[in-house]
Symmetry: C2
Subunit: 454 residues, 2 copies
């Protein structure tokens, strides 16, 4: 009796109810699904689970950055640090005083009035001579060498591309090294002295202001921040320029015959501290004020100079145009130099450093061992370069190390390779270090210096 009852209950609990006509699967019990449906449901659940997992991973990726899966907390902290830094910088950068009349509007230059750099200077040579005689502690010649002031600089704000600041730092170290060896003073400018003449024109008001403020300086040498010294021995042969007031790298045939817009290069040039220079700037600067004047001047320059693309007036094209159109007035005091690389365009030079090391030596300054390697178009500080980033950065690294090796040699070191920031000994330590000084100190070298005094 019990047996039967159990079986009856069993039959009841297996989800029976009334009678036939139910689908087969019902035999599995109340709530049991058809096999196919269960498989589909399970499959759906798996799909959702996978998607959720994927989503989780992507959330992490978006938060801690691409490729940082598994990175340590340090990277997360670093990222936060960088973001906070950027926020603070944006704050510093955005300073502007709405009540400051200088901040108002854009260019207030009246295009009908010739722009000037400042009050006209007319008697500088005599005034300077008097000042020099009254201030013998600030001579314009030291040990027979004319006093040179190297001027360079960069914008006051951090570079758009962070690596730009690192290469600006290396560039100024490179200049510090050369100038220390050769007794040249440096001004590193990070200020915009004239709102109208910003960008490549900024060097004009700067050089002018420095000349006025440093009458003891005989030559002001402007050098772009993207130009590196690559011959640490070579000295500018100033004796060649005793009758000149402007020394600039270029090619006379490109200038006079082709009227090319790249006939001269204003990335590295020297101006004598004299009245003639004021007069030249007074006619050069008016093409520079930003806005309609600079744009119109740009059109004139493009129309008149071979190969010039259409863009606003730049200082280099403007100078070329000026020297061509007023040749008789200026060219007798302009020395167009190409016997050595006062400016050396990087593309033809940077791949040859190993060859130079093998065949030549510092002090030549020319295509065998370039004085200056100039990274025109690389623009590591900005966002829009004319050349591939990789090519530029690696080439600048090579040029820097090529130069640095010439400095480190005195200390018995050299870079492991032209692309390496690491150094190694190139000379054993000695108990007679002063012999090394005699042998390796560049300042004791006579190569390339025979014509330097003027």
């Amino acid at each position: 009796m019990v047996q039967e009852n159990f079986t009856a209950q069993k039959r009841a609990s297996s989800g029976g109810g009334a009678g036939g006509g139910l689908p087969e699967t019902r035999g599995r019990g109340i709530g049991a699904m058809p096999r196919g449906r269960q498989i589909r449901k399970t499959f759906n659940n798996i799909k959702i689970t996978i998607l959720c997992g994927f989503v989780t991973i992507l959330v992490l990726r978006g938060t801690i950055g691409v490729g940082n899966l598994g990175s340590s907390d340090a990277d997360a902290i670093n990222q936060n640090l960088i973001e906070e830094t950027n926020r603070i910088l944006a704050e510093i950068r955005s300073d502007s005083d709405p009540n400051d009349p200088d901040e108002l509007a854009e260019s207030k230059i009246d295009p009908n009035i010739t722009y000037t750099l400042g009050p006209k200077i007319t008697n500088w040579d005599d005034e300077r001579k008097v000042w020099l005689s009254q201030n013998p502690e600030f001579p314009n010649f030291i040990n027979g060498k004319a006093r040179i002031l190297l001027v360079t600089g960069s914008p006051p704000k951090p570079c758009d591309n962070p690596i730009g600041d690192h290469y600006l730092l290396k560039s100024v170290k490179n200049k510090i090294d050369y100038c220390r060896i050769h007794g040249i003073e440096i001004v590193y400018n990070m200020a915009h002295l004239d709102k109208e003449l910003a960008g490549y024109w900024a060097k004009l008001p700067l050089i002018r202001k420095l000349m006025l403020s440093h009458p003891e300086v005989e030559w002001i040498w402007w050098m772009d921040s993207d130009a590196l010294f690559t011959d640490m021995v070579f000295e500018i042969p100033l004796a060649k320029y005793s009758n000149s007031n402007l020394v600039i790298h270029g090619y006379p045939d490109l200038l006079f015959e082709q009227k090319s817009w790249i006939a001269l290069n204003t990335g590295s040039f020297l101006f004598r501290n004299c009245q003639w220079s004021w007069d030249l700037w007074d006619v050069w600067a008016p093409m520079g004020p930003k806005g309609p004047i600079r744009e119109e001047a740009g059109r004139i320059l493009t129309a008149n100079l071979k190969g010039r693309p259409a863009f606003e007036a730049d200082d280099q094209s403007a100078l070329i145009y000026l020297l061509l159109s007023q040749k008789d007035q200026w060219m007798d005091k302009v020395f167009v130099e190409n016997q050595y690389y006062l400016h050396g365009f990087w593309e033809g030079l940077v791949d040859r450093y190993e060859e130079m090391l093998e065949k030549y030596h510092p002090g030549l300054g020319d295509e065998r061992w370039p004085f200056v390697t100039h990274f025109v178009g690389c623009k590591p500080c900005g966002s829009y370069a004319d050349y591939a980033v990789e090519r530029c950065l690696k080439s600048m690294e090579r040029a820097f190390n090529f130069a640095d090796n010439q400095v480190l040699k005195l200390y018995g070191f050299g870079h492991r390779g032209l692309l390496s920031p690491k150094i190694k000994r190139v000379r054993n330590e000695t108990t007679t270090p002063l012999e090394s000084v005699e042998k390796f100190d560049v300042r004791g070298s006579t190569i390339g210096k025979s014509e330097s005094h003027s």
Copy 2:
């Protein structure tokens, strides 16, 4: 007949087949689902669609960065530029030659052998005297002033925090300005001369090497890259130190009575180029080699110096410990200076610049107008600062501009505010610029210079 046939066909096409017993929904046609199932299926599809959309958004977020949805193409290009730059840098950074024995293993220093900086120098004073007499073109005194070489530097690779390179650049500009005004040469080091003595110890082999290589230099002045000149007029009163060989900022009571680990600061100090200095380094350096030696030395220093946290030996603590434990041997030639801020801890100074401008003037060098403001603990180049990033960056900006104003004054300019990179005229242009030179050139100032010659 046709009618009937059509109806029969219709009935057949509606999915009929045999007869009764089919579920009600079947009346909708072959393949039609139950309503509930259709709703569930639709809902599942919606879920999947939403998830997929979400996934897409997250993919974009992870690729172009948080908050950049909708950025312009320029930002995308900039971001690509930065990523490519980082890739190239990683390549340059990772240079290592597996065949170079110097690259192998970690420290090979045997802890049982005292580390040395190089071959022992024992007769430097006499040798240097002979060299100087043989090389009169490299005198150690110029116009009565002892020749000083300022040494600073930073690692050869870009900073972890990109803003670090920008502040290194500003810091070196600040030093260039001071040194130009005061006739001091600069060496900016970006090389690791000694693998064992890296980090804060790196200055030891560097200073030693520079002294050996520059016998014409009377004093080597080490200055950290995070220390800025904030008094452009003040000159180190070298006459006070005619009987000293090491000039370092600190407090005697902190040193001798409290044995505090911050009693002296090695961020800015001067060593005379003489035998005594070699001897001191020979006993100072052995605590520095990284690894077990530096760690063990750190434990000793923490145990013996008040307030020192537990970490590996640093050069400053090691020097303090040395001068305390070998007081009789060294202290007679050490000048512990605190009459002016050869090192000025930034926290108590940066908020007072406005007060200083109001009440005092450059040339004092002390708490009224600090000579050097030193940003200890800010570490803009690294990732782990001891102070809040915002506080540090803004304070460094203020210190830089506070100093820069003193330089720009000669040129008639000044910053718009201590936090502003922009400048404005503080003096009208003049037709007699040389009068401004007489009035504003710092080099003509006699303030703070009365004791400078030694």
